[in-house]
Symmetry: C2
Subunit: 492 residues, 2 copies
């Protein structure tokens, strides 16, 4: 197959868009800003879901489901949250269609079926969930509530990009309620750790754990924690957020509990989410000009076996030879595809699986049968090596583990090489326009400076890293004193 992907070095954005489509991950739909997640893309998302869901359950959470609709009066109850999302809300105003008397066979919205109160399609579910929690919480015995929801949400974005920013997207949103601020903060941080661990161990994506500036906080939160990753074009991508909500939603929805002393207090809340945006991070972090590079832990097909044959007898011989290996790989929990199609050449298949990011490819031909060998190619380095077929399963399992580690370390090296400490604003702008990446710099802590830098350079403060060292310095912009460095970048 001819791939003809644009090159990253020439047009990173076109490369991304084409790759998402050509690798059968997703495509634009006929609905503005909404994507279709295609089977191959969805199967990666399912693997992400399974891993995350297990981590949520291992930390004591259970799943539930709340309505997609939020009545306007509930939506506006927490004012900051409502204000933050108002401009992106899809609104249901009617509940019926009828035949259009002027156009045979066509329908129109029935003007008589207007809702008394408009329904907002959830851009996030705090409002509907906290209005429910009100009835679930009476006493300290009802706390904590540790609930997660897998759902679709809608944010009417003006400029959309497959996976990275779409009007409808899939996500999970955790919503927890606690008796004390300390417990809620601990939960917020715990879930940030879950996200960071998932990003690093599954997506093989190194992330910075940090806290957002007040400007960049989730609307309605007291503190927003985040994980920030660096893409190959030097732009940052926020990969997950975890919010400490204080008592804001409890107050907006009057969620109080009687403590052990019988005194009524407002509940403390958190919320945290990751979305199909992680697919964008996965794609951009590792892939190359030949196509996807998938971390083995999230690859729907981990090993593909391509037989090289001229006739059915040869195919049968390869097939017979390869059966014990396939069986053993599957027993080890490794997903294997044996591509026996005779409508495509081996070369075409090699290119196809390269495009689709299958971590390990085996090729077996007539000469291999004679020699009891197989050619093993790894997708990440494109290294090829001939192995003896005996005891191969264990070696392939080790190879998959090595690839997982290796692409993580490659991404980590890339990030190190593209993280720059700067002391002055001129250098800052130079680095930003030159190599890009994360820039570690001193900032005076004011929203004013933050906004000016954003206006002038389009760079934002991605986060104040949790492991930032206390260090006396001067703000690169205002010269005012600063106690620690923050991370700047242009971002997705």
């Amino acid at each position: 197959m001819s791939k003809g992907l644009p090159k990253r070095s020439e047009d990173y954005s076109a490369w991304y868009n084409e790759l998402v489509k050509r690798a059968d991950l997703a495509e634009n739909s006929s609905v503005r800003g909404c994507m279709v997640i295609k089977p191959y893309g969805y199967s990666i998302w399912e693997k992400m879901q399974a891993a995350l869901d297990k981590m949520f359950k291992d930390t004591g959470h259970t799943n539930a489901y709340f309505p997609i609709f939020v009545p306007k009066s509930l939506f506006e109850a927490e004012e900051k949250n409502a204000e933050g999302f108002a401009k992106e809300c899809a609104v249901v105003t009617h509940y019926r269609l009828k035949s259009n008397p002027d156009k045979k066979g066509k329908l129109m919205v029935d003007p008589e079926a207007r809702l008394e109160e408009e329904l907002i399609i959830r851009p996030t579910s705090e409002a509907i969930i906290w209005s429910t929690y009100k009835n679930w919480v009476q006493s300290y015995r009802d706390l904590p509530l540790l609930i997660n929801q897998w759902a679709n949400v809608v944010r009417w974005e003006m400029r959309t990009r497959l996976f990275l920013r779409t009007a409808e997207f899939l996500w999970q949103e955790g919503h927890t309620a606690h008796a004390t601020a300390a417990e809620a903060v601990a939960e917020t941080k715990q879930m940030l750790d879950v996200y960071a661990t998932f990003a690093e161990e599954f997506i093989a994506l190194p992330v910075i754990r940090g806290v957002k500036t007040p400007n960049e906080r989730f609307a309605g939160a007291e503190d927003t924690y985040c994980i920030e990753a660096l893409m190959q074009d030097g732009k940052a991508l926020q990969a997950g957020t975890s919010h400490f909500l204080g008592q804001n939603f409890a107050k907006a929805f009057d969620v109080q509990f009687a403590g052990k002393d019988g005194k009524l207090e407002y509940v403390w809340g958190t919320s945290w989410g990751v979305s199909t945006r992680l697919m964008g991070a996965l794609i951009m972090a590792h892939s190359d000009d030949e196509g996807l590079v998938l971390p083995p832990k999230l690859a729907p097909i981990q090993v593909v076996i391509v037989p090289v044959f001229r006739n059915e007898d040869q195919l049968n011989a390869v097939s017979e030879k390869i059966q014990p290996l396939m069986k053993e790989l599957r027993e080890r929990g490794i997903s294997v595809k044996f591509d026996t199609r005779d409508t495509q050449s081996p070369g075409w298949k090699f290119a196809e699986y390269e495009l689709k990011g299958v971590p390990v490819r085996l090729a077996v031909g007539p000469r291999d049968l004679e020699n009891n060998t197989v050619e093993v190619a790894r997708r990440d380095t494109k290294e090829k090596k001939v192995y003896n077929l005996d005891n191969l399963a264990g070696q392939i399992e080790a190879l998959l583990a090595d690839i997982q580690q290796s692409i993580y370390h490659k991404a980590l090296s890339f990030r190190s090489a593209n993280t720059t400490s700067v002391e002055d604003y001129a250098t800052f702008k130079e680095v930003l326009d030159g190599k890009g990446g994360f820039i570690s710099a001193h900032w005076d802590g004011t929203a004013e400076t933050e906004e000016k830098i954003k206006e002038e350079t389009k760079a934002t403060i991605r986060c104040i890293p949790l492991d930032a060292i206390e260090e006396e310095g001067r703000c690169m912009y205002s010269g005012k004193p600063s106690g620690r460095r923050v991370i700047f970048a242009r971002a997705y």
Copy 2:
């Protein structure tokens, strides 16, 4: 705990509603007709999803995701389908809110943010999916497409009931495309079999496999196959449907493929779905006046262990004694809860787990410790028996399998006892108003007769059973000849 559920014999409907709420399965939300699926209810739904998803994948299907929105012009393309759902459509007309100048802190729909074309929230996804398939199918090599989607859908129903009929519900919808009618019909029947197998083996619910009359067909289908179950109040419940769509959607969305001979032909389609309605079936099929009775295969907690203790030493002694059993049960894949709360009495806990339908309850007290015994109670029959603790895990595993079988057979006996063959309309009405249940009768095959019977008795033809025997008879209503019996019932 005091349960005070209404009795089934006195008010079946109130019993159902209260049970759903008291057993923490679901509750009504502040959005008209939409429910909140609570954690315990959702964990049962997750088990259903996992089992069904595996069955779909084992039959060659993959998951994908399509937009929740359907532009009106696409929605109306398949006219029968559009007409069938038009009256239940939630419609998005605007994409932004703004501050209300007249009410501080309140929002209003921004009249300037009106969509050019209204978006329908999917009541079912044929339209959006077939408009996508158009681009996926060129040649016979692209067929079949075997795709499933797990999603939420919205149908604006006027009278709603938790799980059975809600404005928003969760479901899966399979949408497949084939080169021949025969292949599509085979797929339709295969998926009906998958549903029937799931209902019988997991929900322990016997079902009749049948085909709907033209009147009761899915809007836009050529044939609708269904599984029909009988509830304890003698009403029928349609538990799943599988539709042969013919070329209707292919023609509406111009989905053609080049056959091996190069000739263009329209694709043949199917769609099939089950929803959170299955939760209603599960609840109504087996539960009793004390609460839920869950089939072990779908129970979130299969075994609960309630320690009987007066002080911490006794609890510790029970705990130590019971550890090896818990470990062994878990190794066998059995989910176990050990309820050590000292805030509730054992009696309260017994009632609670009865309400929640936990299939097997163990109670262990000081005397049991002396005797190396444990009291085992099964939820379905309420039978209690004292067992020796040694080698208990295997016996409990067998007990769970026995309960699964036993509640299936109980439901099957109930259905047999409540299926009546009738020959004349007077008896039909008598049975319908008396014992209810399934009524097997001859029908002349006309929509006219079907509608009159429905008008006069509220009974509908649930299906023409696939295993109906060819049998000369006379329609109980019109006296006209009939070749086979059909199943009538009043239905949910």
